[in-house]
């Protein structure tokens, strides 16, 4: 059992938790993830590490409610426990392991979409601590879904915020910001790191390819084991099949087959929807899901 030391609700669908897990906190690096199980019968949820405090032995995760398991997690509070917390899993970001001298020579642009802001944050913070100021684009559907703005501003170079509906920052997609920075402002970037919904990473890569900016993406496929044992998270990178859990989660975005990855994420869509309705509506669920037959 792992104690929830702190819970911060950022908006109605996104919350953060500091979990006491000394073994994970001691070794985790930006780019890695953990697997959380809420209760004794819970499923294994992979979540990217958002921050960590080695002295306190805590790891911070950011979660967006999606299915029944994440709603269950949201219903827990400070002082409660999650049943399992395994990690750190996956490879650390290349930025952390590459020669720091080489990294310093690069002008780096981060592109974060929605919850993807959370895993971008520790990377930008790590660079800041090593004297590197990276530019960051944060995109969200609407103002309420922009997260970690102050924290990010404190550790990055330029911060560009854009919302789909124009309720905050500029209006439009992250790809339009990339194009404007390169074409209108004449900015030059040697490396882009894009983390967010798979569809956003796909279009981000299409844009950066145009400007020849090598781009790293962090993939979040369906997972079970998280340790290389099952291959549920496999994806095609170049002409090779890779396991996101041990070969990734970060890959060369120019080589990732995004269409296949997006398809594979849809595998259990109806099952997950049903489980969510059951959890949230319980006995008041009268077949509104259209699947269970309860409305017939």
């Amino acid at each position: 059992m792992y104690l929830i030391r702190k819970k911060t609700v950022l908006n109605p669908t996104i919350f953060m938790m500091d979990i006491v897990a000394p073994r994970v906190a001691r070794y985790c690096q930006p780019g890695q993830f953990v697997i959380v199980r809420v209760d004794a019968d819970g499923e294994r949820i992979p979540l990217t590490i958002c921050d960590y405090d080695r002295d306190e032995g805590t790891v911070t995760i950011a979660v967006q409610t999606m299915g029944a398991s994440t709603y269950k997690l949201m219903d827990l509070n400070e002082g409660d426990h999650v049943h399992d917390f395994a990690g750190p899993l996956g490879r650390p970001s290349d930025l952390v392991t590459d020669d720091i001298g080489e990294v310093r020579k690069k002008k780096i642009l981060f592109v974060a979409g929605g919850l993807g802001t959370a895993p971008v944050y520790p990377q930008v913070k790590w660079l800041h601590e090593h004297g590197i100021e990276a530019d960051v684009i944060v995109g969200a559907k609407t103002k309420d879904l922009v997260i970690l703005e102050d924290e990010m501003r404190a550790v990055c170079g330029n911060l560009y915020i854009t919302t789909d509906d124009g309720s905050y920052g500029r209006k439009g997609l992250v790809t339009e910001v990339i194009s404007d920075l390169v074409e209108k402002e004449g900015k030059h970037y040697d490396l882009c790191v894009s983390i967010g919904p798979t569809i956003m990473m796909k279009f981000c890569v299409l844009t950066t390819k145009k400007y020849n900016i090598p781009t790293i993406v962090s993939m979040n496929p369906i997972m079970v084991g998280g340790t290389g044992m099952c291959g549920a998270c496999r994806l095609t990178v170049g002409d090779e099949v890779k396991f996101a859990c041990i070969d990734g989660p970060e890959f060369d975005g120019f080589l990732v087959n995004f269409d296949e990855a997006i398809e594979r994420m849809k595998l259990y869509r109806t099952e997950e929807g049903r489980a969510l309705l059951e959890y949230r509506e319980g006995t008041t669920h009268h077949g509104g899901c259209g699947n269970c037959g309860g409305d017939r």
Partner: protein, 462 residues
């Protein structure tokens, strides 16, 4: 049995009935049946059966105790050599080990050693009898990586010798392949596996779950910073293999490890499970080993029509005869001498069909089995909506790559001698991590041998 030639039959769930539930197939002997079967044992002076047992259980002695209805004593004898008798009695390939050496087997049926072992273990559990240890703690700390059959055996044996043992497990539950791989209907999880792991705990063994060695902590740190004097690596062979054929990433293609982990460890067969499993109507399972049989019979119970696709003939099946027999009885179909060449997708990228080619057997290959060769122009399609790949597994490189000076073999297994000694001082290894995918009992044998070697190592270190 008057003439003693024929084995007392064991009751099994009816094939039609069990194909629709997840309860155990084999119901085991009753007390009277066990005693009758035990009485057939000739109690050989030079018991060949013991030499066929990787953990060297004193078989004639425990069977003799059963024949005298002294089940308590029988359990005491078995538990001296084995930490997991209820597991072994169910999943060991006895027909090629202890029972294959039985003198009774020359003219009639070999003694049902496995079924008797299972009976004794089940009897002990139902009657609340625990294995006992009288060795005083010796204060030496040993770490065991992995809580599968080799790790549990090594830990149990070391604890009996007085060592302070901690097992580190990457998953959230202890048991390794016993909990994620072998299905409920062959090896009940709560009543059998959990109970035997609790027995190992009752010997004083601590189990820390959610620790991924090489990620959460390294072997070097366990030894240098956490005070462990020796380490046993029993991390298994966890990486699933795929065929590398077109369409393998379509929705509806799974490794057997994934399919079985979802259904066994995560209990996806239950309505109330938080983990989903793909409910297919027509499933192809590719492979001919025990894991293929397990996946096929699981898919069957989840309501699918199931076909095993295997490139050799039935004679070459690596699976136990009993498993193949059970699968057939339950209605699993077999397409032998058949090899998949492509998985075809529908417009939504779900599996639509499996394109296969017929094979014939040519000259024997390095495994001694005749090599299957494709027959030209024999390609055909089978309609399927899921394909499960049960092609075998290879060891996870995570530990070897994070442990300084730990040699691996060409096949990416950890290099260890016959006593489990690796290239690193104080580091021992055994089970599938060393041999590649094999059986539960061979892993247990390796865990046992390594426990002895670790004891000698600690004693000699002074």
């Amino acid at each position: 049995m008057a003439d003693g030639m024929i084995r007392v039959p064991v009751t099994e769930q009816d094939a039609q009935l069990r194909a629709k539930n997840f309860d155990e197939v084999c119901l085991g002997y009753t007390e009277d049946e066990a005693v009758d079967e035990a009485k057939r044992c000739l109690n050989c002076k030079n018991p060949m059966c013991v030499s066929g047992c990787p953990v060297r259980i004193n078989i004639p002695e425990f069977i003799h105790a059963v024949s005298e209805r002294d089940f308590d004593k029988a359990y005491e004898i078995i538990s001296r050599s084995s930490s997991l008798p209820a597991v072994c009695g169910r999943v060991c390939p006895q027909e090629t080990q202890c029972e294959s050496k039985c003198i009774r087997g020359i003219k009639g049926d070999a003694i049902a050693i496995g079924k008797l072992e299972r009976f004794v273990a089940d009897w002990a559990r139902t009657n609340g009898i625990k294995p006992h240890t009288d060795n005083a703690p010796n204060g030496h700390k040993i770490a065991v990586i992995g809580s599968g059959p080799s790790g549990l055996t090594c830990a149990g044996d070391l604890a009996r010798m007085g060592y302070d043992v901690t097992i580190f497990e990457a998953l959230h539950e202890a048991g390794g392949v016993l909990v994620y791989g072998i299905p409920e209907f062959r090896l009940p999880k709560d009543s059998v596996v959990k109970a035997e792991i609790d027995n190992v705990r009752s010997l004083g063994v601590k189990i820390e779950t959610n620790v991924v060695i090489g990620k959460s902590v390294t072997i070097d740190e366990l030894m240098d910073e956490e005070g462990f004097e020796a380490v046993f690596i029993g991390s298994g062979a966890g990486l699933p293999m795929f065929m590398k054929i077109p369409g393998e990433n379509a929705k509806g293609v799974f490794s057997a490890n994934e399919y079985l982990t979802r259904t066994n460890l995560m209990k996806a067969y239950r309505e109330d499970s938080a983990t989903p499993v793909f409910r297919a109507k027509k499933v192809a399972v590719v492979g001919g080993g025990n894991v293929a049989m397990d996946a096929a019979r699981m898919a069957l119970r989840l309501g699918a029509e199931v076909t095993i696709v295997y490139r050799r003939s039935e004679e070459e099946f690596p699976a136990r005869a009993e498993e193949v027999h059970h699968a057939k009885e339950e209605g699993v179909k077999f397409e032998l001498l058949t090899n998949p060449v492509e998985i075809l997708e529908n417009e939504d990228h779900f599996v639509r069909a499996l394109r296969c080619v017929r094979m014939e057997l040519g000259q024997p290959d390095e495994s001694g089995r005749r090599r299957p060769v494709a027959i030209e122009g024999s390609e055909f399609e089978m309609e399927m909506d899921a394909v499960i790949m049960a092609l075998g597994t290879s060891p996870n490189p995570m530990i070897a790559s994070t442990t300084e000076g730990l040699d691996i073999t060409k096949r990416k297994c950890i290099a260890a001698d016959e006593n489990g000694k690796t290239s690193r001082e104080g580091v021992f290894a055994g089970g599938d991590a060393v041999t590649g995918a094999a059986t539960v009992i061979l892993a247990m044998g390796a865990g046992k041998t390594a426990a002895k070697a670790i004891d000698e190592y600690i004693r000699n270190k002074g």
